[in-house]
């Protein structure tokens, strides 16, 4: 196979994620593409966890619906992932022979015809390496040998992680890996039918999570103040920047709550520095009031929402796309703001840069709608593409010579007015959340309110013009289109390719800019489309409804394929939706 999906499931202490990380890193070193999804139960430690990794020499868009190769340390833990891990027919399953579950109770349907192999992971680690915790490394060796994964890459990754600080640990781990490998050579000399035959491009790739990518992108874009409050699944952004922003002369504050976080950022931006905050749905809810302040005061600001399952605490560790309404309309009043949606890990990096570009150029708050599925997964990335697009700008300031009778909110054609920051002589003005005259003085005039509403709104079509990036995949002249946003892109793109391989003409349309709607570019993408399906992970079909509300160009026959989140979108379910609609289109119409 040139495209393998493997999964490892176990308990918290089993080191499942560490093993997965090493596999991904090994793939990256070989120039292969890899994609890893972690999944945890509600326990912090000791609970079930799984790593699901797909490796290929072709681009990878999704986590893969079915697993080809599975390692389970415990059937009990595995059973908890039955929603998520579906085996492909004829998959290979390795399990720890120490697990006491009788084979007939294995939660795997016999009719899948899986090849079940018992391996003494635990025993080898305990008895031969004398370090029970190396069970995962033994498994790594077994996996590498059976799948034909690059063992040297794995060892490199281990050395990188432990080599300098804990050389003995590195040594022990490597021994365990070798032990696993020899076990295969001894016990399964013929291997299994699942073998990775992909060859890497040679050039090593990077491995990044979506949260790290958005933080790194912000760093690249020049963020100087980041304020945040921990929340799953957005905390890694805070943690990344805590570590690295001071290296770039910036500062990070873990504030007392989310309100303080966004207001710190607003204060910093108002004072002249690029600023950002990040959270997830419940935390973003607390930021909405302050977001309105940034909007009416026209303060550049970037707010990241790594969406999780709602409402309320919902399922904190799982993904959903149901904070779109909150982003577009959650703040009271008619609020000018921008919503961007990254669609994969690399895009998280790009979108962060774009967000700062728009925020600074147009003096407007920008919301980045990432999600758990993007934020916590790892992907291999080609380092060259990261910096290909250059759109980093600094704070755009008024000319010091133009500060006579300075008007912060001067009415202009673009809606963008000259901005000053402290230290600029003559640039003083009063900023507020109140409606105001051009010079910032508060007013309660309805006439001024209408004029200023229009001024602020003038920016929106310009942003849609400049930044309305719409991805189109598939048959340009297809009459059937799938509309999707954000992290749904992967499964949708793959489904479209699969449908086309089956002879169905179809395309996928995925805007990066959600609000303002990039109408012209959507019009172009939808040209010739007679029927569209809007696919999303939101029980309330928020994207579908949003498009209906804001976009005039939807084909008359537009359908919604929406369900609640937690379980990631499957390629197969999108494919099914495509087939259904392709079929309906070709079916004879009633008169």
């Amino acid at each position: 196979m040139r495209d393998v999906t493997l999964a490892i499931a176990g308990s918290g202490g089993d080191g499942v994620i560490t093993a997965g990380d090493f596999i991904v890193q090994a793939a990256a070193r070989k120039g292969l593409n890899a994609f890893m999804l972690k999944s945890y139960g509600p326990q912090i430690r000791g609970g079930e966890s799984s790593a699901r990794i797909r490796i290929s020499d072709r681009p990878i868009y999704s986590q893969g619906d079915f697993v080809d190769f599975l390692v389970v340390f415990s059937w009990k833990d595995f059973a908890r992932f039955s929603d998520e891990i579906k085996l492909r027919k004829g998959a290979v399953v390795l399990y720890d022979e120490a697990d006491s579950t009788p084979p007939e109770e294995f939660p795997i349907a016999a009719e899948l015809g899986a090849e079940l192999i018992a391996v003494p992971f635990k025993k080898m680690a305990a008895e031969e390496i004398k370090v029970p915790l190396t069970k995962n490394m033994v498994a790594l060796g077994v996996i590498a040998a059976l799948l034909h994964l690059p063992l040297d890459g794995i060892k490199d990754a281990v050395m990188k992680k432990f080599g300098k600080r804990k050389p003995e640990a590195a040594q022990v781990n490597i021994e365990a890996i070798d032990l696993g490998k020899s076990w295969v050579e001894k016990n399964l000399p013929d291997g299994t039918q699942v073998v990775l035959e992909a060859e890497g491009a040679g050039e090593p790739k990077l491995v990044m999570t979506g949260d790290d990518a958005v933080a790194y992108g912000a760093l690249h874009a020049g963020v100087k103040v980041f304020a945040g409050y921990p929340i799953t699944p957005a905390s890694p952004i805070l943690e990344f920047l805590s570590k690295w922003l001071p290296h770039f002369g910036g500062a990070v504050v873990q504030t007392e709550d989310e309100i303080a976080a966004i207001t710190y950022a607003i204060g910093a931006s108002w004072a002249g520095k690029q600023a950002m905050t990040a959270s997830s749905g419940p935390g973003v809810a607390l930021k909405l009031e302050a977001l309105g302040l940034a909007a009416i005061a026209e303060i550049p600001l970037v707010v990241v929402n790594v969406q999780r399952v709602g409402p309320s605490t919902g399922i904190p560790s799982k993904s959903e796309q149901a904070d779109l309404f909150q982003a577009v309309g959650g703040t009271p009043g008619d609020v000018p703001r921008v919503v961007l949606a990254p669609s994969d890990v690399e895009d998280n990096f790009q979108v962060a840069i774009e967000a700062f570009y728009i925020a600074e150029k147009y003096q407007i708050p920008v919301i980045i709608l990432s999600d758990q599925f993007l934020g916590e997964r790892s992907e291999t990335i080609d380092p060259d593409v990261l910096f290909a697009r250059k759109r980093v700008i600094a704070r755009q300031l008024a000319k010091p010579s133009n500060l006579k009778e300075y008007k912060r909110y001067k009415l202009t054609d673009t809606g963008v007015s000259p901005m000053t920051v402290p230290g600029m002589k003559g640039g003083q003005y009063i900023t507020s959340g109140l409606e105001h005259y051009e010079d910032g003085r508060p007013t309660s005039s309805g006439t001024m309110h209408q004029i200023m509403s229009e001024k602020r709104a003038r920016k929106l079509p310009l942003i849609a013009e400049e930044s309305g990036f719409v991805r189109v995949y598939g048959d340009e002249d297809a009459e059937l289109a799938v509309l999707a946003w954000g992290s749904s892109k992967g499964a949708v793109r793959e489904a479209v390719e699969r449908a086309r391989a089956e002879g169905i003409k179809v395309k996928a349309i995925v805007p990066q800019l959600i609000y303002p709607v990039p109408e012209k570019k959507l019009d172009a993408a939808l040209k010739g489309v007679k029927r569209a399906v809007v696919v999303e992970l939101s029980f309330g079909a928020q994207f579908y409804r949003f498009l209906r509300a804001y976009y005039d160009g939807l084909p008359k026959e537009t359908y919604s394929h929406a369900r609640s989140g937690a379980n990631p979108l499957l390629v197969s379910e999108v494919l099914e939706a495509i087939k259904e609609h392709a079929g309906a289109m070709n079916a004879p119409q009633e008169a």
């Binding site: 100087k224 204060g267 910093a268 640039g427 003083q428 900023t431």
Partner: protein
Amino acid sequence: MEPVKLTAKDYKTSVPIVWCPGCGDFGVLNAMQQAAAELAIPPENLMVVSGIGCSSRIAGYINAFGFNTIHGRALPIASGAKLARPEMTVWAAGGDGDGYSIGTNHFVHTIRRNADITYIVMDNNIYGLTKGQVSPTTPHGDYTKSTPMGNPDRPLNPLALALELGATYIAQGFSGNVKHLRDLIVKGTQHKGFAFINVKSPCVTFRGRQEFNVVREHGVYLDESHDPSSWEKAHEVTQWKEKIPLGVIYHVHGVPTLDEIARDLQHKAEEQGHVETSKDLLKIFG
């Protein structure tokens, strides 16, 4: 060339003042303008951040980078501004509702971080802008629009609270004594760290003019006999029942401030190994 001497007038703006005639906040405004002049802060280097309330309108009345923000959030916004531009002077201002009710969380944690800003609370023991509801400092038993049968709650003691939280400069002023208040603001601004100034600033409309007399009668100016470096002495003063202390109650030095800490971390980071551009970071993903 001699630098032009700045006067209080240089800190006036053209924003129409909408306070009621006789409102205590006029005195605070004068004191702030005079303090700015005395400190000779160029208006463009001064940031005045307030929340929402009658008192918070003050940000618009001072020639500076003024920011009349949202209710309760003056402190984190001011802290963020100071963190971004440590070379500027940052004043935060607001009311008792703004600071001690909705803003309490920020009050507590801003003190803890010792953000180098001067925080002036115009404490009128009432919600002025919303027309007369109870505030956390309204005396027990007082009738307000939202306590028609008398305030059932015990008032908060903001001075004692700040002291307990480790504030490094704590003072109380009176809007009826502008000069004294000006001096408190000057000192607070010169203080490196969080300078907290509670100002008795009567709301004549919802609490009546007699509130000025209450302060005049019960106010006691702290003199040499008070040692502001002593926590115990300061604590005693904050616990006065009848008398109202006026002056610097507590003042200690040497506690690192929010922006100093940030610079510290930047230096530490540099020592850990220099990273020039964001591309240099690629290695961590390798």
